[in-house]
């Protein structure tokens, strides 16, 4: 079965849109964080689809860089989330009221 590459690109765009929408509407730090990861994986799918249609290995290599960076971001991000919410019961960003602006 031949699937047009455009389908993958549309799927990736939809995933990116879902991540974007989730980031802007959800209020739990962990879920906002997962939405960013969803967006990054949509980017990976886009890279791989383009790399196949262009027959170019560069796009596939880029995926590894994105994955490594995403992993590094998770490490630091979770550390910050834990540091902020250690003394609190929920991870809602609406409770962060030290800095109003």
């Amino acid at each position: 079965m031949n699937v047009p590459a455009a389908w993958y690109l549309v799927l990736a765009a939809l995933l990116f849109g879902v991540g974007c929408f989730g980031f802007l509407t959800r209020r739990s730090a962990i879920i906002m964080f997962m939405c960013i990861e969803l967006m990054l994986n949509a980017v990976n799918l886009t890279f791989v689809s383009f790399a196949r249609t262009l027959s170019d290995v560069g796009g596939q290599v880029s995926v590894f860089f994105v994955m490594v960076v995403a992993a590094a971001e998770v490490t630091v991000g979770l550390g910050i989330v834990v540091a902020v919410f250690r003394r609190r019961t929920s991870t809602s960003v609406d409770e962060l009221s030290e800095l109003k602006g």
Binding site: F33, V43, V84
Partner: protein
């Protein structure tokens, strides 16, 4: 079977390698030593690394003068005078930011090398962005810079505001990074490459029938950069993060991050997408007007020194974008001059802000500056000079920098851009002048004199000297920045 390894010019990469090596040295020492290592050892390591980078850029500058610019590491890194000058600017900011941090650690009673290590890594990321010739390298530089910053912003564990601002910056920064890399992926789909030179070549020799992908890709990348350089409409994080993070870091934010992000933005817009100038110029114009107007109008309403400076840097970003809008050789030179000279000024300003706030680093109300001239006349005079420089008073670098970008804008035929910028500067002047008069306000109570530690003295002295000496005779730096050309412009 043999493997083909691309040739690497190690001299071109030496600045990045030096700061990373210094950061790794501090990291290993911290991990292996039984006791916490002394702050002064860490500070000196970072300062020596910064001076070594400055020496390297000097050698590079003369080598480039003789042999010309080139690309290295399979075209991923570009070795040209623009990158070298930006690297030198970042190295100066690195040294000053580390010295700021040294006194801050003394005041807060924090011992250790983590601050210096992370600032070194952040500077390494910024240097990589200034030398990048590939969108993936830009992304890597951006993330090295940003991840180090996330840790640094949360550095002060005793202040809840520090961790909260780190969280705010982390979530929005991660969001911006995802948007940036999606823009990279779409640009890759439209042009078949992530290499900036090849993108420029492709767009110069092909006519895109369906430019939608490229438009979306370029637009998304621009959004991410607008976020990083704190230009409107994506500046809303700046005042909160500036207020929450440790004060020496606010200075690093407005110098190191700024320099790296603007350098990469110049490369993407002027080199890679230079042929699409007619498309992105209106967008830039909107960003410039929004940044200068919102920055100026919100600056004058602030009663907190760090929030005021955060909004002020939104306005300054608008001015720098004006130079990129022009996109000409003189526009790029003016942008370079602006970014390189703004670093020492803003770091010196934040050094004084941190000192006046005292231990705890939390009270930055402008009322604390009342009668500063009685507590320490030299410090008050220095702060006055630094504020006037940011305002753009003649005989300071602020004036020359603003004059440069405005001249480039007018040359490129954008009269309205220049008019809006002048009006914005005039409005923002009110905030700076009010702050300056506060320094000399009369107070009834007797105030304790303010002692300035040596590191802060060095930073403030350097900032004031730079702004006045270069401001009175800008010839040298102007000629250097007009020689700081981009490869493939």
């Amino acid at each position: 079977m043999t493997l083909h390894v691309p040739a690497i010019n190690y001299l071109a990469l030496l600045p990045f390698l030096l700061v990373t090596a210094a950061a790794l040295k501090l990291l290993m020492l911290t991990a292996l030593m039984r006791r916490r290592i002394a702050t002064s050892l860490a500070t000196w390591t970072a300062v020596v690394a910064g001076l070594a980078v400055l020496g390297t850029t000097l050698v590079q500058w003369y080598e480039l003068d003789r042999y010309g610019s080139s690309v290295t590491a399979a075209g991923a890194i570009v070795y040209d005078p623009f990158g070298v000058l930006m690297t030198a600017g970042i190295a100066v900011s690195l040294i000053l930011a580390v010295l700021n941090g040294h006194d801050w650690q003394r005041r807060e009673g924090i011992v250790g090398a983590e601050y210096q290590m992370l600032v070194l890594l952040a500077a390494g990321g910024a240097i990589l962005m200034a030398q990048a010739n590939d969108l993936i390298i830009v992304f890597l530089g951006l993330e090295i810079l940003s991840i180090a910053l996330y840790c640094l912003i949360a550095f002060n564990r005793r202040r809840q505001a520090s961790a909260e601002s780190a969280m705010k910056y982390f979530l929005l920064g991660g969001f911006a990074a995802a948007i940036f890399i999606y823009g990279v992926a779409l640009t890759y789909g439209a042009t078949g490459t992530t290499n900036l030179t090849n993108i420029a070549y492709f767009l110069g020799s092909n006519h895109l029938l369906h430019p939608g992908l490229l438009l979306a890709g370029g637009g998304l990348m621009l959004v991410a950069f607008v976020f990083k350089v704190e230009a409107a409409p994506f500046h809303f994080w700046a005042p909160d993060v500036y207020e929450g993070e440790p004060t020496p870091l606010s200075g690093a934010h407005a110098s190191i991050v700024w320099a790296g992000a603007f350098a990469a933005l110049v490369r993407i817009m002027v080199v890679a997408l230079g042929s699409q100038q007619s498309t992105w110029r209106p967008l830039f114009f909107g960003l410039i007007v929004a940044s200068i107007a919102t920055g100026a109008l919100l600056t004058i309403q602030q009663s907190n020194a760090k929030r005021l400076l955060a909004y002020a840097s939104v306005t300054q970003s608008g001015f720098v974008l004006l130079g990129i809008w022009a996109g000409t050789a003189s526009g790029v030179a003016a942008t370079t001059f602006y970014v390189v000279t703004y670093g020492p000024v803003v770091l010196a300003t934040f050094a004084i802000v941190g000192l006046v706030s005292g231990p705890g680093d939390s009270d930055h109300a402008l009322t604390r500056y009342q009668g500063l001239s009685r507590r320490n006349p030299w410090l008050a005079a220095s702060l006055a000079v630094l504020l006037l420089s940011q305002l753009g008073v003649p005989f300071t670098t602020g004036f020359d920098a603003k004059f440069g970008v405005l001249a480039a804008t007018l040359d490129a035929g954008n009269v309205w851009g220049a008019v809006v910028a002048m009006m914005g500067a005039a409005v923002a002047a009110f905030a700076y002048l009010r702050w300056t008069t506060t320094l000399y306000a009369d107070v009834d109570e007797t105030l304790a004199p303010l002692v300035v530690p040596w590191a802060t003295r060095v930073v403030v002295g350097f900032g004031v000297l730079t702004t006045v000496v270069v401001g009175v005779d800008p010839g040298l730096i102007t000629s250097i920045s007009s020689h700081a050309t981009l490869l493939f412009q």
